[in-house]
C-alpha cells in the first residue's frame, strides 16, 4: 500500500532527479513518439476519411439515397414508392460495352463503363468537364457523349469525332475530369463514357438479358429519417431484389477498404510501438544502471523497496507522458501537412478533422507499452542493496522478477490486447496479428539465446584469431545486448519480409501464373440468337485453342429455407449483392460433383439447384435446403440437390448457383464465353467478334489482371511503408543499444590498445561482431517471414507458395548492413579516445 509520506518522498525525489534533464532518454522518447505518432496519424486519416464520407455522403452517392436493381429497371410499384418518398429522382443505367471507332482509316475498340443518364443527373454536385461547360449544355444535342481522357487516347479520337456504342453512333463533345459520384462507384474495368439513356434506344445495348445495373438516386426531404426509410425499403422490396443504401455510407467500397487497411496499419503501428518497447526497456535498464549508487545510498539512508520503485516509476511516467504527448501532437498534425498528397491517392477531398478517438487509442497504447516495458527493469531495483556502494552490482538481466510484477505484466499485456480488439473492432485480426508477432518475438529471443550459446562454445575453441575471439566474447557478454539488438532489428525485418513474401507470391499468381491459365477474353452480353454464330467464328480460327460458354443471368439470393438470407448467412459474399446464375442440361466438364445428383436430361419437374460445395459449407447449407432467388423481379425457389466444386482460380467461367434449364431458359438472358487463344490470334478474334456483334463486350483478361495487380501493388506498397516505420523504430532501438554499449567498448578498446592491439584489429572485431548479429537477425526474420507467408498464402489466399529469394537475400543483407552501420558508428567513436585519457577518467 502506498503511504502518503512515501508517495511525497518519491515525487520529490523523482522531480529532483529530472532536473538534470532528459537527454539520457532520447531513444526512449523517440521510440515512443514514433510509435504513438504513427498510430495517431493513421487514426486521424481514417477519421478524416470517415468524416468526409459522412459529410459528403450525399455527394459521393449522388443523392440522399439510392435504390439499385440488376438486370432490370424498377417496376411500377417500386417507381411509385421511390417517387413518393423523394423530392427528386434520377435514373442511371450502368453497364460495360465496347466503344468502337471505324472510320478514316481508324479501327479501334476499347472497353468502357457506360453511364446512361436522364435529364435530372446529377442530383447533387456537378460533373467537371475539360471545357468548363456544364453537363446539360454539352449533352443537349442528340447523339452527344462525353468520355474520360484515357478512353479518348486509347481510341485516338478528338472532340467532334464520331464513335459507336453498339449499333448507335455518338459524337464526342467533351472530356470528363471528374463526376461527383465517382468515389462512391464500384470498381470499373474501363474508363467512363456518359450518354443520355434515350440516345441508347437504337444501340441494341439494352436488350433483354443484357447485364446492366439500374440506379435510382433520390433527393429526400432532410426531415425524413433515412434509417427508417431504409428499413421500409428492406421490408417491402428486399425480396424483389432492390438494394438500398443512403448517404450515411455514400461510398461503401472505400469505407470498407479504409476500415480494413487502417486496422492493418494500426496493428503495424502497434507492432512498431512494441519494437520501440524493446528500446524503452533497454533505455530504462541503462538509466537504472547509472542510478545504482543513488539507489544504494537511498537504501543506506532507510528507503524501502516501494519508495525506490515509486521514485523511478514516477520519473519514467513523466518522461513517458512527454513522449506520448509529443507523439500525439506530431501524429495529429502530420496528416494535415500530407492531406494534399492523400487526395491524390484516395479519390476523395479528405478533410482532416480533430478526432478524439485516434488520440485516445494511441495514448492508451503508448501508456500500456511504456508501462509494460519499464516494469521489468524497474522491478530489478529491488535487488540493489546498500552494499552496492562497495561491490560492483548491476541490474540483473537473468531471472524473473517477483510474482507481483509478473502478474502486473500479464495484466498489462491482456489490457493491450483487449484495447486493440476494442479500438479496431476486429478481434480476429488482433488475435492473429498478436499471435504472429508473439511467435516472431519468441523465435528471435530463442535465436539470441542459441546464438550466445554457440558463441560461448566457439570462443573457447578459436585460437590465433584475436579479433574474432574478442568479437564473440563481447557478443556473449551481458553488456552487448545481443538479445535486444536481435529483437529490435529482427522484428522490423520480419514484418517487412513477411509482407514482401506475401506480396511477391500474390503478384506471381496474378501476373505470371494466372495469365498462363486464364482465358484471353471474357465475352459478355451475347444474345441467344448470336451464340451459334459466335461458336462458328471461334471454331474457324486455328489460333483459338478452346472456348467455353454458358448462359448467364443475375439474381439475388433472398431467402434460405424460407428465412431471410441476410438473417441466415449474415454478410457472406454469396448473398451480398447479385450473383451470376447459370443453367445446364448436363454437368459441364469445368465442374466436379461432390455430393448429390444433377437433374436428369430433359428434366421438367420442380426447380433444382446445384450449389458450390465450399460456399455451401460456409453458409451452413446442403442437400435438401431451399433457396429463393430473385431474378429480374421474379422469385424462383428451388431445392439444393447437388454440390460441386467451383474453381475460380483459373479466371474462367465459374458459377456458384446453377439451376435446371426449365427454371431459367425462358427468362431473358445472355451468354458468356471465355476464349483461349494464342497471343498472335487474339487481335484477329477480337476484331472479328466485335465487328460482327457490336453489342457484345470483350474484356481482355490480361488488362484486368494488370489492373488488379496495380491495385494490389499499391496496397502492398502502402503496407510496406507501414512496416517500414517498424523497421525505423527497430533501427532507433539498435542505435540505443549500440550507444549503451559504448562505454564497455571504450573500456575494452583502451585495455586492448594498451596491450598492443591496433585500430585495424579492433575495427575487424567490430565488423565481425555487428555483421554476425545483423545477419542472424536477417536470417531469423526471413525464416519467420517464409513460415508466416507460407501459411497465409496457402491457407488464407489458397495460392501456391514459392520463396521469393531476391527479397529474402535483401532482408538478410539489409539486417546485416543496418546493424553494421549503427554499430560501427558508435564503435569507431570509442577508438578516438586514447587509452590513458579513458582509463584516467574511470
Amino acid at each position: 500500500m502506498i503511504r502518503t509520506g512515501n508517495f511525497r518522498f518519491s515525487i520529490l525525489m523523482a522531480i529532483r532527479e529530472l532536473r538534470s534533464g532528459i537527454s539520457g532518454f532520447r531513444i526512449f522518447l523517440t521510440c515512443l513518439v514514433l510509435g504513438v505518432g504513427t498510430i495517431t496519424a493513421v487514426g486521424t486519416i481514417k477519421s478524416g476519411i470517415e468524416y468526409t464520407i459522412g459529410e459528403k455522403g450525399s455527394e459521393l452517392l449522388g443523392g440522399n439515397a439510392e435504390a439499385e436493381f440488376t438486370y432490370r429497371s424498377a417496376n411500377d410499384t417500386e417507381l411509385h414508392w421511390l417517387k413518393s418518398i423523394s423530392q427528386d429522382m434520377s435514373e442511371i443505367l450502368e453497364f460495360r460495352s465496347m466503344a468502337i471507332i471505324e472510320s478514316d482509316g481508324k479501327n479501334e475498340r476499347a472497353l468502357t463503363q457506360i453511364k446512361a443518364i436522364d435529364d435530372r443527373y446529377p442530383l447533387i454536385g456537378e460533373v467537371q468537364l475539360e471545357s468548363g461547360r456544364s453537363l446539360r449544355e454539352v449533352l443537349i444535342k442528340p447523339k452527344s457523349a462525353i468520355m474520360e481522357r484515357d478512353l479518348a487516347s486509347r481510341l485516338s479520337i478528338s472532340l467532334g469525332d464520331t464513335f459507336s456504342l453498339g449499333l448507335a453512333d455518338f459524337i464526342l463533345r467533351d472530356i470528363i475530369i471528374a463526376s461527383p459520384d465517382d468515389a462512391g462507384a464500384n470498381f470499373g474495368l474501363g474508363p467512363r463514357t456518359i450518354v443520355k439513356t434515350k440516345e441508347l434506344k437504337s444501340s441494341g445495348l439494352l436488350a433483354p438479358g443484357t447485364l446492366f445495373t439500374a440506379k435510382y438516386r433520390l433527393q429526400i426531404d432532410p426531415s425524413k429519417n433515412l434509417e427508417a426509410l431504409g428499413s421500409i425499403a428492406k421490408m417491402k422490396f428486399e425480396e424483389t431484389g432492390m438494394r438500398w443504401r443512403d448517404s450515411r455510407n455514400g461510398a461503401p467500397g472505400i469505407s470498407e477498404i479504409v476500415t480494413r487497411l487502417s486496422a492493418f496499419f494500426i496493428m503495424v503501428g502497434l507492432a512498431g510501438l512494441v519494437v520501440g518497447g524493446v528500446g524503452i526497456g533497454s533505455a530504462v535498464k541503462s538509466y537504472l544502471n547509472q542510478k545504482i549508487s543513488t539507489i544504494a545510498v537511498l537504501r543506506s539512508l532507510g528507503a524501502t523497496n516501494s519508495q525506490i520503485f515509486m521514485t523511478y516509476f514516477i520519473q519514467l511516467a513523466i518522461i513517458s507522458l512527454i513522449g506520448i504527448c509529443l507523439g500525439l501532437l506530431i501524429g495529429a498534425i502530420t496528416p494535415h501537412l500530407f492531406a494534399p498528397l492523400l487526395n491524390i491517392v484516395i479519390p476523395l477531398p479528405i478533410k482532416i478533422v480533430f478526432s478524439f478517438k485516434p488520440i485516445l487509442e494511441a495514448a492508451v497504447y503508448g501508456a500500456l507499452i511504456s508501462t509494460l516495458f519499464t516494469l521489468w527493469p524497474l522491478s530489478k531495483c529491488e535487488n540493489i542493496q546498500a552494499v552496492a556502494l562497495f561491490r560492483a552490482m548491476s541490474l540483473q538481466s537473468d531471472g524473473l522478477p517477483r510474482f507481483k510484477y509478473l502478474v502486473w505484466s500479464f495484466g498489462l499485456l491482456v489490457s493491450l490486447l483487449a484495447a486493440s480488439a476494442l479500438f479496431n473492432q476486429n478481434p480476429q485480426l488482433t488475435c492473429w496479428f498478436s499471435l504472429g508477432f508473439a511467435v516472431a518475438t519468441l523465435t528471435l529471443f530463442l535465436s539470441a539465446r542459441l546464438l550466445i550459446y554457440f558463441i560461448k562454445k566457439l570462443t573457447r575453441v578459436i585460437k590465433g584469431h584475436p579479433s574474432t575471439r574478442w568479437a564473440l566474447a563481447a557478443m556473449s557478454g551481458t553488456q552487448e545486448g545481443t538479445s535486444n539488438s536481435l529483437l529490435a532489428i529482427g522484428l522490423g525485418l520480419a514484418v517487412l519480409a513477411t509482407i514482401a513474401q506475401i506480396d511477391g507470391n500474390l503478384r506471381t499468381s496474378i501476373n505470371n501464373d494466372l495469365p498462363e491459365v486464364a482465358p484471353s477474353y471474357f465475352v459478355i452480353d451475347i444474345q441467344k440468337s448470336q451464340i451459334e454464330e459466335v461458336r462458328q467464328i471461334l471454331n474457324s480460327y486455328k489460333g483459338v485453342t478452346s472456348f467455353d460458354e454458358a448462359p448467364m443471368l443475375r439474381g439475388i439470393i433472398t431467402k434460405i429455407n424460407n428465412s431471410l438470407a441476410s438473417e441466415v448467412a449474415g454478410d457472406h459474399w454469396v448473398i451480398r449483392g447479385d450473383r451470376g446464375i447459370t443453367y445446364f442440361e448436363e454437368l459441364p466438364e469445368r465442374f466436379t460433383l461432390t455430393e448429390g445428383q444433377i437433374w436428369p436430361k430433359n428434366y421438367t419437374g420442380k426447380t433444382q439447384i446445384s450449389f458450390g460445395a465450399e460456399q455451401a459449407e460456409e453458409l451452413g447449407i446442403g442437400i435438401g435446403d431451399s433457396l429463393t432467388v430473385n431474378i429480374m423481379g421474379r422469385k424462383i425457389t428451388g431445392e439444393i440437390t447437388s454440390l460441386r466444386n467451383v474453381d475460380f482460380s483459373t479466371a474462367g467461367i465459374g458459377f456458384v448457383l446453377a439451376m435446371n434449364p426449365t427454371a431459367l431458359e425462358t427468362a431473358p438472358h445472355s451468354f458468356i464465353t471465355t476464349i483461349y487463344a494464342r497471343a498472335e490470334s487474339e487481335d484477329a478474334v477480337f476484331n472479328a467478334l466485335s465487328r460482327k456483334f457490336p453489342n457484345i463486350t470483350l474484356i481482355k483478361v490480361r488488362n484486368v489482371i494488370e489492373r488488379v495487380g496495380e491495385l494490389l501493388g499499391s496496397i502492398a506498397t502502402a503496407s510496406s511503408y507501414g512496416a517500414f516505420t517498424t523497421l525505423v523504430t527497430g533501427f532507433l532501438v539498435l542505435l540505443g543499444s549500440a550507444s549503451a554499449g559504448q562505454n564497455a567498448r571504450s573500456y575494452d578498446a583502451s585495455i586492448l590498445k594498451t596491450l598492443g592491439a591496433t585500430r585495424k584489429n579492433l575495427i575487424i572485431s567490430y565488423i565481425i561482431r555487428f555483421s554476425l548479429l545483423g545477419a542472424t537477425a536477417g536470417f531469423v526474420a526471413i525464416f519467420f517471414a517464409i513460415c508466416g507467408a507460407w501459411s497465409i498464402t496457402t491457407f488464407v489466399l489458397e495460392l501456391p507458395f514459392k520463396i521469393i529469394w531476391s527479397t529474402a537475400i535483401m532482408v538478410v543483407m539489409g539486417g546485416l548492413l543496418v546493424n553494421l552501420l549503427a554499430g560501427l558508428y558508435f564503435a569507431t567513436q570509442s577508438l578516438k579516445v586514447t587509452p590513458a585519457k579513458f582509463l584516467r577518467s574511470q
Binding site: 509520506g5 543506506s300 539512508l301 532507510g302 524501502t304 523497496n305 546498500a386 552494499v387
Partner: protein, 222 residues
C-alpha cells in the same frame, strides 16, 4: 551492564562468485556499546568494510547472529532493515556518496524525507550550518570540494540524530588539511549526540582518537 547497541555473535560472511566461494568474515564476535568509539584497522582485503556493513545491517550475514538495539537483524528483509536504519544508523563513506542530482541541502534532507519527518529542509539547514556549509545549501556536489562534500555527508549522517554512526574510511579521499577538519568534526558530532561511532580507517590520527581499536586480518579479529 547495559545491552550492547550492536552485537555480533559468531558472524560469518561468504560471497559466491564465478571462481567459487570467498569467506570474507570468519566467525567474528563483537559488541559495541552506547557512546563508545571503535576504530577498525587492518590490511587491504581483510574484511574491514564488510564487517562495518554487517554491523549496520547494510549487508546480510551468511551465519551467526547480529543484534541492533537488542533486535535480531539476521534474516530480516531489506525493507525492515531500511526502516530500522531510519533515524538510528548514519553512514559516512570514503567516496562521500552524495546524490549528484540533489543540492547539498536536499542531500542532507533526504533521510528526514524518507522517514516523512516534518520540516526536513529546515532541519537540514540546521545540520548544514553545524558543519559550516549553510551558505552552500543550494550547490550540487559537483560544485563542492572533497572536504566540503564529506562535511555534507556528515551532516546527512547526523541530521536524524542517530544512535549509531558507521564511517568507512571517512578521510580516505581527503588531503591532510581536510582530514584533520573532518576528524575533528566527526568526534565533535559524536560527542554532541552521544553516538556509538564505528569506523574503519588507515589513519593513525583517527584510530588513536577512538576509545577502542580492533584489528582484523583475513576476516578474523585479532
Amino acid at each position: 551492564m547495559r545491552e550492547p547497541v550492536i552485537s555480533l555473535q559468531n558472524v560469518s560472511l561468504t560471497l559466491k562468485g564465478n571462481a567459487g566461494n570467498v569467506n570474507i568474515i570468519k566467525n567474528v564476535s563483537l559488541d559495541l556499546h552506547e557512546g563508545e568509539s571503535i576504530g577498525l584497522i587492518g590490511p587491504s582485503g581483510s574484511g574491514k568494510s564488510s564487517l562495518l556493513m554487517l554491523a549496520g545491517g547494510l549487508e546480510q550475514a551468511t551465519s551467526g547472529k547480529i543484534k541492533i538495539f537488542g533486535q535480531v537483524i539476521t534474516g530480516m528483509s531489506e525493507d525492515n532493515l531500511s526502516k530500522l536504519r531510519r533515524g538510528n544508523v548514519g553512514v559516512v563513506f570514503q567516496s562521500f556518496h552524495l546524490i549528484q542530482t540533489l543540492t547539498a541541502g536536499e542531500n542532507v534532507a533526504t533521510p528526514l524525507e524518507i522517514s516523512s519527518s516534518k520540516n526536513p529542509i529546515k532541519h537540514a539547514m540546521v545540520a548544514l550550518d553545524r558543519v559550516g556549509l549553510s551558505h552552500r545549501a543550494d550547490h550540487y556536489p559537483s560544485q563542492l570540494s572533497g572536504g566540503e562534500q564529506q562535511r555534507v555527508a556528515l551532516a546527512r549522517a547526523y541530521v536524524s540524530n542517530p544512535q549509531i554512526l558507521l564511517a568507512d574510511e571517512p578521510t580516505g579521499n581527503l588531503d591532510e588539511e581536510n582530514t584533520k577538519a573532518i576528524i575533528d568534526l566527526l568526534f565533535e558530532l559524536k560527542n554532541e549526540h552521544n553516538t556509538t561511532l564505528f569506523l574503519v580507517t588507515h589513519s593513525n590520527a583517527l584510530s588513536t582518537r577512538c576509545d577502542r581499536v580492533i584489528k582484523i586480518r583475513d576476516g578474523k579479529l585479532l
